[in-house]
């Protein structure tokens, strides 16, 4: 059906979308690159001319740069491990026939619908507050000293909050994958003498490999840029300053657009490094 005519018509009709998407990507990218080579201080004189690579070297030599990279990777890694492991367990659990399955599944997916800002606030004030948070009551009930979560265990707290948000996503993807597993394969392995643990290791887990890959890739993309959770809880204090947050501070708190833009370029580089590693490790699961 693809005649010369219909092909050119197709191109014409796709053009607006392609132009829009390209613009969406290229304009911010070009502007970031443009500003990263300028001394640009909006409240203190505006555009003060070209400075070459000075912004880049200043951003890199800042004492908060390497800690911010570490924090970013810790959060991404921690959340990935928690959501994938718990996601698999929850998916297996939800796949069992049980009473009220539909309602339980909706409840499990619910946290994904809560806005990051709101969920972070709920966690901060209702759970993690050392005076009247639920966790504080729990600790007091057992006679322990309540933990000041967001200052004493700030990074784990943030990992916990973000994991809570992303667990439904992982569970949902893994649940649909587990549902597509051929029941006869499990029965065959049962007849072959595989214990439940061996069945999980040899049949279920390999079957889930592709879904796990997708969960890891998609979550990494979003987790590298988490912001709201940090903004409303610690505000970047107590070692929770990620690269994204550092850029935010440079641009809006220090009012240094040039420096922030250089940070943005580093963020692009970091995202690419992580992406390359991920594709190397898990990307082969997407083949075939």
């Amino acid at each position: 059906m693809a005649t010369q005519h219909s092909r050119s018509a197709a191109r014409l009709m796709m053009a607006p979308a392609v132009v829009l998407l390209l613009g969406w990507m290229l304009i911010p990218l070009t502007m970031t690159l443009y500003f990263s080579f300028k001394k640009y201080l909006p409240m203190r004189g505006g555009d003060l001319g070209w400075v070459g690579f000075e912004n880049y070297s200043r951003f890199l030599s800042s004492s908060s740069f390497w800690p911010s990279i570490t924090a970013t990777l810790m959060i991404v890694g921690g959340v990935l491990i928690i959501t994938v492991v718990l996601g698999i367990l929850l998916a297996i659990l939800l796949n069992q026939p049980m009473w009220g399955q539909g309602v339980v599944r909706i409840l499990v997916i619910a946290p994904f619908f809560v806005m990051p800002t709101v969920s972070a606030l709920v966690w901060k004030n209702m759970f993690m507050d050392p005076n009247y948070g639920l966790l504080a009551y729990l600790w007091k009930f057992f006679g322990a000293q309540p933990v000041e979560w967001l200052s004493q265990a700030s990074l784990p707290s943030i990992i916990m909050i973000v994991s809570w948000q992303w667990l439904p996503f992982a569970t949902l993807i893994l649940l649909t994958a587990i549902q597509s597993l051929d029941g006869e394969q499990l029965e065959a392995s049962e007849m072959d003498g595989a214990s439940p643990l061996a069945r999980f290791g040899y049949i279920v887990l390999p079957h889930l490999a592709r879904a796990i890959t997708i969960v890891i890739l998609i979550q990494t993309i979003f987790l590298l840029s988490i912001f709201a959770e940090i903004f409303v809880t610690t505000g970047g204090a107590f070692g929770t300053k990620t690269l994204t947050y550092l850029i935010f501070q440079r641009v809006l708190e220090s009012q240094n657009v040039g420096l922030g833009s250089a940070g943005g370029v580093y963020a692009i580089i970091l995202a690419n490094i992580v992406a390359i590693f991920l594709m190397r490790i898990v990307g082969k699961n997407l083949d075939a």
Binding site: D182, E184, Q185, E187, A188, S189, M191, G193, A194, P206
Partner: protein
């Protein structure tokens, strides 16, 4: 050894009893085929023997030992599934090795058994491929290979050929029969295809609605069907079942006559009829003849070789009275 005894085995899903209490003995080394229409409980019965379903009552004994409560792996049975149920991420070699790996068979023993199974099943060249890269027949053979290496007391086949095309099915049928002769292990084979049942079985178990209608050798079932259901189910094309006056004359509610036991002639015979559709198979020709005297259903008649009768021709049929099957009002053979 693989002698399997079912003693009053019963299965119910909730309130629905799919298998009423049932007794059956399968002797060691026998090739037994469970055959019946869809939904007759033949697969369920196989799964009960395998241990994939729990019985609701009764006892299953394998070699005189009570196996009713044993988990599937401990029963010493191997099963070949309809979908083959190969592990898609493992190579053929690993698929075949899997049951031995689970049983902790030493590595060189594993290699030896894989090599001999692969040789027997013509899989030697495919050992390092994944199941996805194999044809239907090859996958089938891998599934059988995975069963063979366990050296089971009995093989269970759950409609293993239904996913293959007709030509391949005939070939695999022979291969499985050959395998049975060579291994002399008990095999239980479930199918809805009575041709498979007739060609492969030592003993056929005809099931309907969870009940055993008849157990016997293929020819016993063919020559002396115990009731109307078996008579109509075994044989291809089906036996002609006639009710009404023609049957009452012989003191029965229903009489049955197989297509090959009716003579066809243009001049004279017992019944006069009109030729309808005819099926020419070369070696045989099947005519569907409409006979006023025996009811609305056309009779199927076999004629050897090529017979030139056209649609609408007037013919005479003469049934061979020696091979007439008579059934009473309760459907049982008289």
């Amino acid at each position: 050894m693989g002698r399997i005894t079912l003693d009053k085995v019963r299965k119910a899903f909730g309130d629905i009893e799919v298998i009423p209490p049932l007794d059956l003995t399968i002797e060691d080394g026998e090739f037994v085929v469970f055959v019946g229409p869809s939904g007759c409980g033949k697969s369920t019965l196989l799964r009960l023997i395998a241990g994939l379903e729990d019985v609701s009552g009764g006892q299953i004994r394998i070699d005189r030992e009570d196996a009713t409560e044993l988990p599937p792996a401990k029963r010493g049975l191997a099963m070949v599934f309809q979908s083959y149920a190969l592990y898609p991420h493992m190579s053929v070699r690993k698929n075949i090795a899997f049951p031995m790996k689970m049983a902790g068979v030493p590595h060189d023993e594993q290699e030896r058994r894989i090599a001999s199974a692969a040789k027997a099943l013509n899989l030697t060249d495919y050992l390092d491929r994944k199941p996805g890269q194999l044809s239907g027949g090859q996958r089938q053979r891998v599934a059988i290979g995975r069963a063979i290496v366990r050296e089971p007391a009995a093989f269970l086949f759950d409609e293993p050929l239904s996913n293959l095309d007709a030509a391949l099915r005939v070939g695999m049928r022979l291969e499985i029969s050959e395998l049975h002769k060579r291994l002399a292990t008990t095999m239980i084979y479930v199918t809805h295809d009575q041709v498979e049942a007739m060609t492969m079985a030592d003993k056929i178990v005809v099931l309907q609605a969870g009940r055993i209608e008849q157990v016997g050798t293929p020819l016993e079932l063919y020559n002396t069907p115990r009731n109307k259901f078996v008579a109509g189910f075994i044989g291809s094309p089906k036996m002609n079942l006639i009710e009404g006056d023609a049957a009452t004359q012989h003191g029965a509610t229903t009489i049955g006559i197989r297509p090959e036991h009716i003579g066809i002639s243009a001049e004279s015979g017992l019944w006069e009829g009109v030729v309808g559709v005819s099926e020419h198979l070369g070696s045989d020709t099947f005519f569907h003849v409409k006979v006023e005297a025996v009811g609305a259903e056309p009779l199927t008649v076999r004629a050897s070789g090529e017979v030139s009768l056209k649609y609408g021709d007037r013919v005479f049929l003469s049934p061979d009275m020696k091979n007439l099957h008579k059934f009473g009002a309760d459907g049982l053979r008289i």
